[in-house]
Assembly symmetry: C2
Amino acid sequence: MTIETQGEPRTEQAHKLVAASISQDLGFLLAKLHAAGSVLNNRALSEFDLKERSYSVLILANSGLEPTQREMADFLSLDPSQIVALVDELEKRGLVVRAAGKQDRRAKIVTATGKGSRVLAQAAEAAGRAETDVLDGLSGEEAAQLKALLRKALWGASGA
Amino acid sequence: MTIETQGEPRTEQAHKLVAASISQDLGFLLAKLHAAGSVLNNRALSEFDLKERSYSVLILANSGLEPTQREMADFLSLDPSQIVALVDELEKRGLVVRAAGKQDRRAKIVTATGKGSRVLAQAAEAAGRAETDVLDGLSGEEAAQLKALLRKALWGASGA
DNA sequence: TATGGATAGTTGAAAATGTCAACGATTTGT
DNA sequence: ACAAATCGTTGACATTTTCAACTATCCATA
């Protein structure tokens, strides 16, 4: 990020409106960096026919935490019906399987297949490179600090 | 934010899935904090019949920087046609006026009216309170640091 | 100074997303 | 055993995004 990443069509540039007070607004800063990052992320993931959403689901399915769809919905701040569609697609592609929960048979536990794990490993690399691009303007330490602060804001000092 | 803000229906809680590796992913962290913040922001702004979008436009219109609609679109990462709709509504409500650009008569400069300024002043207070809620888990210093890092990631060290 | 190509705003249509209410299957509390 | 709640799913509906035109205007250059 920061000023023109490459000779590309020009990603972002210092703008006269940066001086406006909205540049101090947290919601705006989050929205803008999120928007910029989404473009790069989705571009990087498109090679694997994934988007940010399906990528997230695949990560959770591969986490070993045996998440149910409901837990995924809560955690990803998505409507349960959206999880259905995402899991449907990943399952159709053989990257993920649904299994009835052991204690609660209403719930469906989503788990990554071997193929899902392998695709995820590659996708994660590409996503990592995209993240590096987004945080181009920050030092490694600053990048880590930014992520730590975001985690703390979300889950408090105890968060991962 | 952080664990349950109040006795409310429960806003957010430490989740078992926090342990998943996606909690280290910048895009996810931005999306999640942005989503959580949007809820609070829009709730706070609804008192003034504003949403995050129209609030942003109103701020820029009130900035004294005489932004054109195109500049707003670029800066807010929105399609120009969305700016049209937002300005239409604000103009209908008498909070903002359009004027032809002096050098370029194709461009429309959007400026806040007196009424717009007054509404904005109050809305900004409410939005500020919402932001405080979102950053509940951070100290004042940490909150400032977070915002500084976001700005730096977007515009480099020179940014506002 | 005329002419071609770009750009600002606007409109409207199409596609993608978000929201929400209902339903069957299952669990939980009493 | 029964009532109330919950999980996944479906489908309807609303909102948002994306994109291709179109007019008016600007700019470059012959």
